[in-house]
């Protein structure tokens, strides 16, 4: 209990420090754990005098649980539309980083086997960190967010296979074959459970939260048991078990329960890991720094190049690259299992762990919109086509989105020439088909604005996803009225201060809602649940008839 309490209290202190310094919590937890190892008095407490690491169960179970919990977030439906881009980006990033990692490890003077571990340690990105970051930025459902999620799933899957292969390496080809067959079997079972068994159980039993929690752990334990029978690494089991809960509504139902548990295990896991690693010596630190620099320098351009090649916009690709520039928690798994198999030394284990910590710590600083914007001008392929032939006297629509079509009819009816700038390939194709001039690109990019004749437009409608993009337009374009759609009242004043004309869409949305509400109430006053059966049909259909252009 003392040990446990100390881990927790250290974690609490780390949380406070992380908030004070405004840095991500994971590396602070780890460093706190390292400090805990100083003096060795913790080891006495844990009764670890006999070469046995006292918090080992915390490490093993915590890691399995964290992999499990991040598996729940990897719902394949989120990126099904972007599958080709996801597959290409995920695979190429994995292979090329591994190759570069291998070269670097050899250069640093490691042997073959160790070099393979180091290389693989650098090849994937952290599901845990990236999903967290995406959630914080609320970018989970933006196109680049979806692609990043997909890339993580692809890489995790690749990692699971690789860890199976590595752990069966001593047994030769036959052993590897059995291992892979076992993994496939687990995957198939997981798929059947995800698609059929659990949805059925859910309908049949309507479990309460406590029961769901038991299901979670029972499935995790069953898979870990199966993995142990098939002599597979536990992490494969945890990953597939997490996948089982990834479909709606199950993923939503368990998220609340998992949240608390993941936060709890995350805290004690990373403190325990830091304690396990101990305070590194300078040599280890320098090597880890070198590897971290490699990851941070290589990943963004690599991912950005592949993603853009597969049809993403320049900025989306760069943002994806920046977000993925860290090594994975699977690297820790790999390092732990390599240490257990005596494939790598404790020093290499520490190097891989530290690299992971450093890169994870940097991610929240790198993976921001601001960094992406700063990097954008360095993009080598940015078309610097001259603006001759750019339209003028037109209405420029920046960001067409899914609601833009409703703007078209009244604008064209009023005799305006309309030019659209949008980053979505589908929008581009649709508009081109209808003969509406559309420039594919990023509306906040000055070069694109120039091509679209922004300076000579009659009026500009900025309806981009992010208000910050619209603010950039305001700073580039003067003397043309810019109508900016905003969703929060706080943005209204900012837009006005920069000389734009803000349009707050929430007022209208609230008004429309109230109209609906009042009619529904008036139709059947009193009856609580039957009050509102009248269903407003999908905006795509009946709303289209109910043309918003008519006041």
């Amino acid at each position: 209990m003392t040990l446990f309490a100390l881990l927790l209290i250290t974690a609490a202190a780390a949380h406070a420090l992380a908030r004070l310094l405004r840095v991500p919590v994971i590396p602070v937890l780890l460093v706190a754990g390292m400090l805990l190892s100083l003096g060795g008095w913790m080891d006495k407490l844990g009764g670890a005098g006999h070469g046995h690491f006292a918090a080992q169960p915390v490490l093993e179970f915590g890691l399995a649980f964290l992999v499990f919990a991040s598996g729940v977030e990897l719902n394949p439906r989120r990126f099904s539309r972007h599958l080709p881009a996801v597959l290409w980006t995920g695979a190429l990033h994995f292979v090329i980083s591994a190759a570069i990692g291998l070269a670097v490890a050899m250069l640093l003077g490691h042997g073959w086997l160790t070099a393979i571990y180091v290389a693989l340690g650098l090849s994937a990105s952290s599901t845990l960190v990236v999903l967290r970051q995406l959630g914080l930025r609320r970018a989970m459902f933006e196109p680049f967010g979806r692609i990043v999620t997909g890339v993580l799933l692809v890489q995790d899957l690749a990692y699971v296979v690789l860890i199976v292969v590595l752990s069966h390496l001593p047994g030769g080809a036959a052993s590897i074959g059995t291992g892979l067959a076992g993994t496939l079997a687990l995957a198939v079972v997981a798929w059947v459970c995800q698609r059929h068994l659990l949805p059925w159980l859910l309908r049949r039993f309507h479990p309460d939260e406590e029961t769901l929690l038991l299901w979670l752990f029972a499935v995790l334990s069953l898979f870990m048991g199966a993995a142990s029978l098939l002599e597979l690494p536990m992490i494969a089991a945890a990953f597939f078990a997490g996948f089982i809960f990834s479909a709606f509504p199950l993923n939503g139902l368990v998220r609340g329960q998992l949240n608390s548990l993941s936060q709890f295990f995350l805290a004690i896991f990373f403190v325990a890991l830091g304690w396990r690693v101990g305070v590194p010596d300078l040599r280890v630190l320098v090597q880890a720094l070198q590897l971290a620099v490699v990851v941070i320098v290589i990943t963004p351009p690599l991912v950005a190049a592949v993603a853009e090649w597969r049809g993403m916009t320049a900025r989306g690709s760069i943002e994806a690259g920046l977000l993925l520039a860290q090594t994975s928690e699977y690297s820790l798994v790999l390092a732990l299992s390599g240490l257990a198999l005596q494939h790598i030394s404790f020093e290499v284990f520490s190097v891989i762990t530290l690299t992971t910590v450093i890169t994870m710590a940097v991610t929240p600083l790198l993976g921001t919109e601001r960094t992406a914007n700063w990097l954008l001008p360095f993009h080598p392929l940015r078309r610097r086509r001259q603006a001759h032939g750019a339209p003028s006297g037109h209405v420029l629509v920046l960001g067409f989105g899914s609601a833009g079509m409703w703007l078209m009819r009244p604008l064209r009816a009023a005799g305006h020439e309309v030019v659209v700038v949008d980053d979505d390939a589908v929008v581009h194709a649709t508009l081109s088909q209808r003969g509406i001039p559309c420039i594919r690109g990023d509306g906040s990019d000055p070069a694109t604005l120039e091509r679209a004749g922004a300076a000579n437009a009659r009026v500009i409608l900025a309806t981009m996803r992010r208000v910050s993009d619209a603010l950039k337009v305001l700073s580039h374009v003067k003397h043309v009225p810019v109508v900016v759609r905003v969703g929060e009242r706080s943005d209204e004043q900012v837009v006005r201060d920069l000389g734009g004309i803000p349009v707050l869409n929430t007022d209208n949305a609230a008004e429309a809602f109230m109209q609906w509400f009042e009619t529904a109430e008036a139709n059947r006053p009193g009856a609580a649940k039957q009050v509102l059966p009248e269903r407003l049909d999908r905006p795509g259909r009946s709303r289209a008839n109910q043309d918003p252009s008519k006041p």
Partner: protein
């Protein structure tokens, strides 16, 4: 790696628990009984899991978190309210049960010392069982729940005294009086110190840092749990039980405005660990004893199940509390405590008692815990039955006439026919204002305490990903739910719960590609700011003079 004892036994325990819970649902068996059964099957029956120190640790963690939650639920004010009643009823119940248990033990042919041990083992009720069951039924905060918890805490104090006494007991002959008194002094001093620490911390130390941490739910959770274990450690240093430390930790956080949210966040942790605690209780049972000792076990169980509630009912009612809560408080404590499983082995080690007492206590424990789970679940019908049969008309079961209505604590009125609005962004606030202007009853929910300020509505801090938040918001009796969140998954989940409860809902489709999924979930109205934004933009263009035909 699964050869490691802990992960293997953990896995087997959760798998067994999950399987038994599903089977138990078919016959509407309370979770506690199911867990005990699961433990009996994987432990004594099949022998695939044994007790280990890690399991012990997990169980203790569960108990600590459970008591922490109890503390969060209550507050110093609520405790003071029932303090005297709990003290007198608790002590009276223990004395009478001890006496009765001693008598029965002698009648069953046990030695006098064994009788004392058995009487003690019967006298205590299980804090964990009671709190878990009351929590499941949402009754912790109600009057009878508070009385029951009060009685249990008084018992915990007595337990500490007895444990101190017993550890000072080297054997039957050598009583170290000085050491024992020192231990007792330390325990009571510690208790006073801890109580003072908790109260002072609650008032002067904790509010500021927790307010600072509140905007990050993760920090809040980790801090709260660490605070809990910190006090557990301190309690341990003073030779106090971890229950007391954890409870005081919870109590000192109960005044903070975030305690509701905190409770929900700690809940999943507690559920997991406590499930393991109950299964491990089952694992520790000795089923072989059933053959020889079923008769005394049955007699003593019936004694526990009838006498304990009766004593508490009489005491609480005679102390001027209404009869109904007195009856429910009595029913709650009708079982023996897991502490008995610590007490009796101590006696066994000291050579004071024979193994018979040990097996009997174990059996009485399982039987009374399982039975009391049913008693608490069916408390209402049992009360109605006793009332109909006139069993409650006896003068001693009535509150004294002069105390009528003295303790009528008003319970919070549940919401009904209200509108729940989730997400206090600009859209959410606007909707709340307009709906409030229409005279609707509103409940506004957000995860950020700062966003809930200055709204013309009832507010609630919480993350709707926890079903408990929606339940506490009275989803089932709401007439409409609105979510203005920009989080696809959460919106879908809320819509899913609304459909399950038959409540219409309006959801923010911040991107029109999300509409299809939501319509599949039978959402009543889609709030589409983007579409409405187009309307506003066109109006602006018209105002600027760009939309007249040339």
């Amino acid at each position: 790696m699964l050869e490691d004892g802990f992960l293997r036994s953990f896995g087997i325990i959760v798998i067994a628990a999950a399987a038994f819970v599903m089977a138990g649902r078919l016959v509407r068996m309370p979770a506690i009984v199911v867990y005990l059964l699961a433990g009996l099957v994987v432990g004594p029956l099949l022998g695939i899991v044994g007790m280990s120190s890690e399991l012990q640790l997990v169980s203790e963690t569960g108990i600590a978190l459970l008591l922490f939650l109890v503390g969060l639920e209550l507050s110093f004010a609520k405790i003071r309210d029932v303090g005297r009643v709990a003290l007198l009823a608790g002590l009276g119940q223990m004395a009478l049960t001890l006496a009765g248990g001693y008598g029965l033990a002698r009648w069953l042919g046990l030695a006098p010392v064994e009788g004392v041990f058995l009487g003690l083992a019967l006298a205590f009720s299980s804090t964990v069982v009671v709190v878990k069951l009351l929590d499941e039924h949402g009754q912790l905060g109600q009057l009878h729940g508070r009385i029951a918890v009060g009685i249990l805490l008084i018992q915990d104090v007595v337990v500490i005294v007895i444990l101190t006494f017993l550890t000072g007991l080297g054997g039957p002959e050598n009583l170290e009086l000085a050491g024992m008194l020192g231990g007792l002094g330390k325990a009571f001093g510690g208790m006073a110190a801890l109580l003072a620490l908790a109260m002072l911390a609650a008032r002067y130390v904790l509010p500021r840092p927790f307010h600072w941490a509140a905007r990050s739910p993760e920090t809040l959770l980790i801090w709260a749990v660490s605070w809990c274990f910190l006090l557990v450690l301190v309690a341990h240093e003073f030779g106090l039980s971890l229950e007391v430390g954890a409870f005081l930790a919870g109590l000192s956080l109960a005044q903070l405005p975030y305690n509701e949210d905190l409770k929900r966040r700690v809940h999943p942790l507690m559920n997991l660990f406590v499930a393991i605690f109950f299964v491990s209780l089952g694992i520790r049972m000795d089923l072989g004893a059933l053959r020889h000792e079923w008769w005394p076990a049955l007699v003593l169980s019936v004694f526990v199940l009838i006498i304990k509630p009766l004593v508490v009912l009489v005491a609480v009612a005679r102390l001027g509390r209404p009869q109904r809560p007195a009856f429910f408080a009595g029913l709650s404590v009708a079982q023996i405590s897991e502490f008995s499983f610590i007490l009796v082995p101590l006696g066994l080690q000291a050579g004071l008692i024979g193994p018979r007492v040990f097996s009997i206590t174990g059996l009485v424990g399982v039987i009374s815990m399982a039975a009391s789970a049913y008693l608490i679940r069916y408390a209402e019908p049992i009360h109605a039955f006793c009332h109909r049969r006139g069993l409650l008309r006896w003068r001693w079961l009535q509150p004294p006439a002069n105390a009528a209505g003295a303790a009528a604590t008003p319970e919070a009125q549940p919401l009904a026919g209200h509108i729940i609005v989730i997400g206090m962004n600009t859209l959410g606030r606007k909707l709340v204002e307009q709906l409030a202007a229409r005279g609707e009853t509103l409940l506004a929910i957000d995860t950020d305490p700062t966003k809930l300020h200055g709204l013309p509505a009832r507010t609630m801090l919480g993350n709707v990903e926890y079903l408990a938040v929606l339940e506490e918001a009275g989803l089932a009796s709401a007439k409409l739910l609105i979510t203005t969140l920009h989080i696809e998954d959460t919106n879908n989940l809320v819509a899913y719960h609304c459909r399950a409860h038959g409540v219409p809902c309006a959801v923010n489709v911040f991107d029109l590609s999300l509409a299809d999924d939501l319509l599949d979930l039978d959402v009543a109205y889609l709030i589409a700011p983007k579409v409405e934004g187009v309307r506003a933009q066109l109006q602006t263009l018209r105002d600027l003079g760009h939309l007249e035909k040339p």
